[in-house]
């Protein structure tokens, strides 16, 4: 049994599916999360490595402040890998150097006024659970505060976007209110 941020992830669920338990994580986001931590499609929760679980937990606790993903090099067809006698630490040091050089290069480009295009990480703006609920509540409160039609309709527990109200509108009557959560 694995608990991540207070959510119980059942052992026999696929990891990709179990992640959708978080409010704000759907199948697509769960797939992205799995890709980020190299969790394959058929991986069950019980098969997750401790490293994967801790990194998942630390990422989900604050996605916005997660460290950027390193861009590891990929072997071209004629690549010859270094001999096994070369220690991995040496290779890592070399990679770190190249990363630093890249950072400098980017800084230089930015100074020239032509900043390099940054990859926009969609997971960076991920909000889950109470954070997402707060956001939704704030949005509704904002609408009400500025006195907009949307805000008023929310306050009246009625549909917001011009739907019929003579019949139906059940979901709106149930959910549309100023403090939804």
């Amino acid at each position: 049994m694995v608990h991540v941020l207070g959510k119980k992830l059942p052992d026999n669920h696929l990891a990709r599916f179990a992640l959708t338990q978080f409010y704000g994580v759907g199948p697509k986001t769960a797939h992205r999360l799995c890709a980020r931590f190299q969790i394959h499609d058929k991986c069950k929760v019980k098969d997750l490595t401790p490293f994967q679980i801790t990194s998942l937990a630390s990422f989900l606790s604050s996605p916005a402040t997660a460290p950027p993903i390193p861009r590891y090099p990929l072997a071209p067809p004629k690549f010859l890998s270094p001999a096994p006698t070369v220690p991995l630490s040496e290779l890592q040091a070399k990679f770190r150097e190249s990363q630093e050089a890249l950072v400098k290069e980017k800084a230089a480009l930015a100074e020239q006024g032509t900043p390099a295009k940054e990859w926009n990480d969609p997971l960076k703006s991920l909000r889950i659970e109470s954070e997402l609920r707060n956001q939704i509540r704030e949005n509704i409160a904002h609408q009400r505060m500025i006195g907009s039609y949307v805000g008023r309709r929310h306050a009246m527990h009625l549909p917001v976007r011009g739907q019929n109200t003579q019949t139906n509108a059940k979901t709106a009557k149930k959910l549309n209110r100023l403090d939804r959560f």
Binding site: R32, A35, H40, A75, S81
Partner: protein, 486 residues
């Protein structure tokens, strides 16, 4: 007695009608008694699979049944205990009657042996041997073939013209580098490419080759096993899949691997914990190295071990090596694995597909041996890509737009990374069975009681024509579809 009742019933008089009704009732009653008297042989009732404490309960039930039987028509006899066992526990599982047990009816086919693959024997069916270390049992089979063998009482295949041709090619390849024999079996869906590949594997195994057979290459790229990035090889390693390949390679070729030795020292678990390192000196048997890897259930050492095993197999000249890959076209697709940026990982950036592609492209070669692969034409998810269609000159089913992009890298892999070695050779598998070949197959299914109604020549010709001689259609849509409940 019945004739008197009949006469009474047919008299037609109104006054007689009541009497006849009584009589007919009597008839029923009396015939009941007659029917019951006939099978009055009482067999001692055994209490099959009954828990000890419930014996007398059962006896009471049977006693009730016995008294009940004297008044009622159905004559119930219990199945004897040796015929049926209830699946009470794991220790005494259900036992099928003998005639339903696998391998109970064997087809008496000749064995598929190298010496049997001759021009003379074209059009005869031959069964595969079923020892537990047979490559088919260890590496598995392509799905369609697996399903067919599950129905057949003896796994077998028909020796075709192209089988003999392939055998000759492998015989030549035995003494030359695998660079010279990198073959792709092509042909329309269901024409027998996978069967031919499997025949080649069986041939090579019984000729003493070292065999690495991957019947479903799709499983290497469909995101079903673990993957991790490795800075040394700059690819994504597949520890779990590598472990399975090492395990299977060892099981099938344990004899050959135990005669080969390491040419350079090797450290198992290279980049892992220093406490878990295991050093093998030069001259250690390859089987020992593989066994050590199989023992490590964390899969961490599998990728390194597979790499070393392949390097050693490349260098040695004692045994020819056959690498046989089914579903080969799937390796020319984007994989279902995703990198941290959510881009699909290219198959040449995954360790195992890359290993296969390197042998296919001639970048790596066995000193003696061959690379043999088959395309799967019926897979719509992993269709044959343009790069392969172009280099193998397969032709296109529909005209291709000139604006469709080809991947440079995949073209390189298809047409050979080594310019001298050239590209993959195309071996076309004939589209149709010859009549003799189809006949052999028909006879196999007929002997296996797959044909329920007619077993005449007309049926054979009808099925042959209906399927246009296509082997898969001949079996699945012809022979096996002939069952019509009457």
């Amino acid at each position: 007695m019945s004739s008197s009742i009949l006469s009474a019933a047919t008299s037609g008089a109104a006054s007689c009608s009541q009497r006849s009704l009584v009589a007919s009732r009597l008839l029923v009653h009396q015939t009941r008694g007659a029917a019951q008297k006939a099978p009055a042989v009482k067999v001692a009732q055994s209490i099959g699979g009954v828990k000890k404490g419930q014996k007398d309960k059962w006896e009471r039930k049977i006693g009730r049944e016995y008294t009940h039987r004297q008044h009622d028509i159905p004559v119930f006899t219990r199945m004897s205990e040796d015929k049926l066992k209830l699946p009470k526990t794991d220790k005494s599982p259900a036992v099928l009657p003998e005639q339903f047990q696998p391998m109970s009816t064997s087809l008496n086919l000749p064995l598929f042996e190298p010496k049997a693959i001759t021009r003379k024997n074209v059009g005869t069916a031959a069964g595969f041997d079923l020892t537990p270390t047979n490559p088919a049992k260890v590496f598995g089979l392509p799905k369609k073939m697996f399903l067919e063998f599950r129905i057949l009482s003896t796994p077998c295949s028909v020796i075709r013209d192209v089988t003999v041709e392939t055998k000759n090619k492998l015989e030549k390849a035995k003494d030359s580098s695998s660079k010279d024999s990198r073959i792709v079996l092509t042909g329309r869906a269901g024409c027998g490419k996978s069967f031919l590949l499997h025949q080649a594997v069986q041939y090579a195994k019984s000729e003493g080759w070292i065999v690495l057979y991957i019947p479903r290459a799709k499983t290497l790229i469909n995101s079903t096993t673990t993957y991790t990035y490795d800075l040394r090889t700059q690819t994504y390693l597949q520890p779990q899949a590598s472990y399975r390949i090492v395990e299977k390679l060892l099981t099938v070729n344990s004899d050959a691997l135990s005669t080969l030795t390491l040419s350079a020292p090797f450290t198992l678990g290279g980049d892992q914990d220093k406490s878990k390192l295991q050093v093998f000196k030069e001259g250690t048997k390859l089987s020992e190295v593989a066994q050590a890897c199989v023992k490590d259930k964390s899969y961490q050492s599998a990728c390194g071990t597979l790499e070393v095993l392949m390097r050693e197999l490349e260098g040695q000249t004692k045994f020819p090596v056959l690498m046989a890959i089914d579903d080969f076209q799937s390796l020319f697709h984007d994989t279902a694995y995703r990198d941290p940026f959510f881009r699909p990982i290219k198959s040449h950036h995954l360790s195992l597909p890359r290993l296969i592609l390197e042998y296919a492209s001639g970048k790596r070669n066995f000193a003696k041996g061959a690379f043999l692969s088959a395309l799967t034409a019926s897979d719509t998810q992993y269709a044959i890509p343009l790069e392969l269609q172009d280099t193998l000159e397969l032709g296109h089913r529909h005209p291709v737009s000139p604006y469709v992009q080809r991947s440079e890298t995949l073209l390189q892999y298809a047409s050979g990374l080594d310019a001298k070695a050239g590209g993959l050779q195309n071996l076309k598998v004939p589209e149709k069975f010859s009549v003799e070949e189809a006949q052999a197959l028909f006879e196999v299914w007929k002997d296996d009681l797959a044909l329920t109604n007619s077993r005449h020549d007309e049926t054979f010709m009808a099925k042959y024509v209906e399927s246009d001689g296509n082997p898969r259609d001949f079996v699945w849509k012809g022979v096996l579809a002939s069952y019509a409940p009457s």
